[in-house]
């Protein structure tokens, strides 16, 4: 079952038994959850005529007792407070309360106490505490994501909040899938271990009754890994449609905001890129840039054909046919112009930032060897005036991640050159990255040069040549997924929590990356799922990263970490 269907199921169940005009009240997190899975027109069909946020609703005083209120909130203490105030002076006829995660007993008691006028008709838990952006990809949109990079001593309460939010999200995913998993985590990451242990405690001790589902032959697997094991993937420039849009422009909850990149007509300022609603996007989201261009051209040609035939309206029959097909035509027109606008924008950005050039070097740094050649290439690009600061920073970081041990002198040269060229560069950021995610800290074999099998494989691939220079890179997750499929994940690197153990291969696997996922990784997972290997993978993370977001997290973490290092 895909995650989007699970969320839609929950929302349907919320709305189906309540007759009459309804108002749906959400909070800032559940609005994302609901918006990616349900559309406004579908809500209207269910007679939900008003949607509001719980914080703005308390400001208005007008009473609408002809409406029934359906609340769908996260069970946080602020929401409970707001609800209590609402219940004390109710505005609506009936109140139906739904929560996206587990309610504590004290919270229920508090709510019951404030419900003096007995307007609450039902209170239920529907576990949709995550944002299901694609059928097998979810995110939690955690606001201060950078906390995972910091040791616990820096800010214990915020880190605890972070872990709680992540554990709640993962628990909700498994409750929605009605499964209880075996849990493994990445040994070298403290935060992954902590999250894995807290999740295990929740599922097996605190709420073991709730999670006691029908046991299948082979339990599903939850794997908690750390973003810092693969710092390479978020830094690379992407060339497949969905990943590229996120990297160059930015996708938030399946919406793309084009206002920052230029002037657009009103209906193209924000567009929706959802694989559930847009058939063309669903077919092309994992294709590379060249193929997308061709497919869009084909789409435009089709559309022009239809437009031309619409212009020869001569008989009344033609007119009738035109009016019949008009809604379809309009929808197609909107869709075509959306994709054309996106691709044009991206082409413009590629042109401005010389990304073809930069990306070629990036892929070389990520996939092939040759330290001397790499050093030369990076130096040349650093000297090139038309490369912008963020690209220079990324190139140096990629070089540093790969060759941090091989030639320290040249590395220092690059650092100084970078500092001199980029005005906004925060000094020490690359070193901070190396401290967080350097070769000593990583478990996985990021560059395929740790054991002989991988080296041989790389050599063979080099000899064979690559299909496309720009999409050579495979994220480390691909190797992890492969090792799970073959049942060969090493216990040393990925131990089990407590006394869990699993014989054989799991049928369902949820991989959670603390620190965020990327669309390149979700593409990898989706293609793996489509290859019918018998195992279903679901990928999730605390946010969805692109290079800008990853760098911002690094900077934030560096800023917070600095005072503590001076203390030591």
């Amino acid at each position: 079952m895909s995650l989007v269907t699970a969320v839609r199921d929950y929302i349907n169940r919320m709305l189906q038994d309540i007759s009459g005009m309804k108002v749906l009240i959400l909070d800032s997190h559940t609005v994302s959850t609901v918006s990616v899975a349900y559309s406004q027109s579908e809500l209207l069909q269910k007679e939900v005529f008003l949607v509001e946020l719980v914080d703005s609703i308390s400001k208005s005083k007008e009473s609408m007792s002809h409406l029934k209120a359906v609340f769908f909130l996260r069970p946080t203490s602020e929401n409970i407070q707001r609800l209590r105030r609402q219940l004390a002076s109710p505005r609506f006829g009936e109140y139906h309360l739904f929560f996206s995660n587990l309610l504590k007993d004290t919270q229920i008691h508090n709510l019951a106490d404030s419900d003096e006028q007995e307007v609450v008709q039902q209170v239920q838990e529907f576990y949709a505490d995550f944002v299901a952006i694609d059928p097998y990809h979810f995110t939690l949109n955690v606001p201060s994501n950078h906390l995972y990079m910091l040791p616990a001593v820096v800010d214990p309460p915020s880190l605890q909040n972070f872990c709680d939010r992540v554990v709640d999200g993962i628990a909700a995913v498994f409750l929605a899938l009605k499964r209880r998993p075996i849990i493994r985590y990445q040994r070298t990451s403290d935060i992954a271990k902590r999250i894995a242990q807290e999740t295990a405690k929740l599922m097996y001790q605190q709420e073991s009754g709730l999670f006691d589902f029908r046991r299948t032959e082979v339990s599903p697997l939850l794997l908690v890994i750390d973003r810092r094991d693969d710092p390479l993937t978020p830094l690379l420039n992407q060339w497949t449609y969905q990943a590229m849009v996120h990297e160059l422009i930015g996708i938030q909850d399946n919406k793309v905001d084009l206002r920052s990149t230029g002037k657009f007509p009103k209906d193209q300022q924000e567009v929706v890129l959802s694989s559930e609603q847009d058939a063309f996007f669903k077919a092309n989201m994992y294709e590379n840039f060249g193929d997308i261009g061709m497919n869009i051209k084909r789409l435009v040609d089709e559309f022009q054909q239809i437009a031309k035939s619409n212009q020869n309206i001569q008989t009344i029959e033609d007119m009738a046919k035109f009016v019949d097909n008009y809604p379809e035509y309009k929808k197609m027109q909107g869709n075509v112009s959306k994709h054309v606008t996106l691709v044009t924008e991206m082409s413009k950005i590629v042109e401005e930032r010389k990304l073809m050039l930069v990306s070629q070097t990036e892929q070389e740094l990520a996939c092939n060897g040759g330290q001397v050649a790499a050093f030369e290439a990076v130096t040349n690009l650093l000297n090139n005036e038309s490369i912008c600061d963020i690209d220079r920073l990324r190139l140096v970081m990629l070089y540093a991640l790969r060759y941090e041990k091989e030639s320290p002198v040249q590395l220092m040269q690059l650092f100084t050159k970078l500092a001199s060229r980029s005005a906004k560069y925060k000094p020490g950021l690359v070193q901070f990255l190396l401290k967080q995610a350097g070769v000593d800290k990583r478990t996985g074999d990021l560059y395929g040069n740790r054991d002989f099998l991988n080296i041989a494989r790389n050599m063979a691939r080099g000899l064979k040549g690559v299909e496309n220079v720009y999409t050579q890179h495979q994220p480390l997750l691909f190797q992890t997924v492969e090792s799970i499929t073959k049942g060969r994940m090493r216990d040393v690197d990925y131990p089990y929590v407590g006394n869990h153990f699993q014989q054989g291969r799991p049928q369902e696997v949820v991989i959670f990356i603390v620190g965020g996922t990327t669309y390149e990784e979700s593409r990898s997972v989706a293609l793996q799922n489509a290859s019918n290997s018998g195992i279903r993978f679901i990928l999730g993370g605390s946010v969805v990263l692109n290079s800008k977001r990853f760098l911002k997290d690094l900077e934030e973490a560096q800023r917070m970490a600095r005072p503590s290092t001076t203390v030591l």
Partner: protein
């Protein structure tokens, strides 16, 4: 709508009679349905023009959902009408063909008789021809009427399509709609605050305060005058 479907089916069945009553029934039903749809549309328009208030979002959304329903209904009606029209046309041609064939056969078989019979049969033929002509003319008129109502409905549909949400676009997203509500409410608040400030700063309050102070001063002076004189 179901009644109209039944009436269509009945009229299309080949019958011996003239079928005039059926035609009238169909016409009446079609007019009624079109009238209902038109009235609903007008009421829908009135709903939106009724001024802004807290309820306005609810109203707008109700409008949208009803507009979708209306659009679906009118599309259904048009589809039914166009199929009826098509089958009517087929029938008309068929009947004409049949009539003509009958005439030809009749004339051929009667050609062998003697002249007296010929004249009688020719008259008979003429009468038949005239009758089928009149029949054709009537059918033509009916088809024209149906086409007119189809056009009317097309017009209504075009008007309604402005109200209906395009699925899959940004306007169909819940969070986008909440955002725009939030911004309009914020804007409204800002405007209100501005208005309040200008009112406070405004001359009226100043004038009123000055006048009151003057009144007090005059009163005091009056009392003083009374005391001292």
């Amino acid at each position: 709508m179901a009644e109209l479907a039944k009436a269509h089916a009945k009229a299309l069945m080949p019958s011996f009679g003239d079928g005039k009553e059926d035609q009238h029934l169909i016409e009446a039903l079609t007019q009624e349905i079109t009238g209902l749809i038109k009235r609903s549309e007008k009421k829908l328009q009135r709903l939106s023009a009724a001024g802004p208030s807290e309820d306005s979002n609810v109203r707008k959304n109700v409008q949208r959902s009803l507009a979708t329903d209306l659009q679906n209904l009118s599309m259904e009606l048009r589809k039914k009408q166009s199929t009826y029209l098509k089958r009517l046309r087929q029938q008309k041609e068929g009947q004409d063909g049949v009539d003509l064939e009958m005439n030809l056969n009749g004339s051929r078989s009667k050609m062998e008789d003697d002249d007296l019979d010929n004249m009688v049969f020719t008259e008979h033929q003429m009468a038949k021809l005239k009758k089928s002509e009149a029949f054709t003319a009537e059918r033509e008129k009916e088809i024209q009427q149906v086409v007119e109502s189809v056009n009317e409905l097309a017009q209504i549909m075009k008007d309604l399509s402005v109200l209906v949400i395009d699925q899959g676009t940004i306007v169909d997203r819940i969070d986008y709609n909440i955002q725009s509500v939030a911004t309009t409410v914020e804007e409204g608040l800002k405007q209100l605050e501005k208005a309040e400030r200008t009112q406070k700063k405004g001359g009226m309050v100043m004038c009123a305060t000055v006048l009151i102070i003057m009144c007090f001063i005059m009163l005091v002076l009056l009392i003083l005058k009374e005391i001292f004189f």
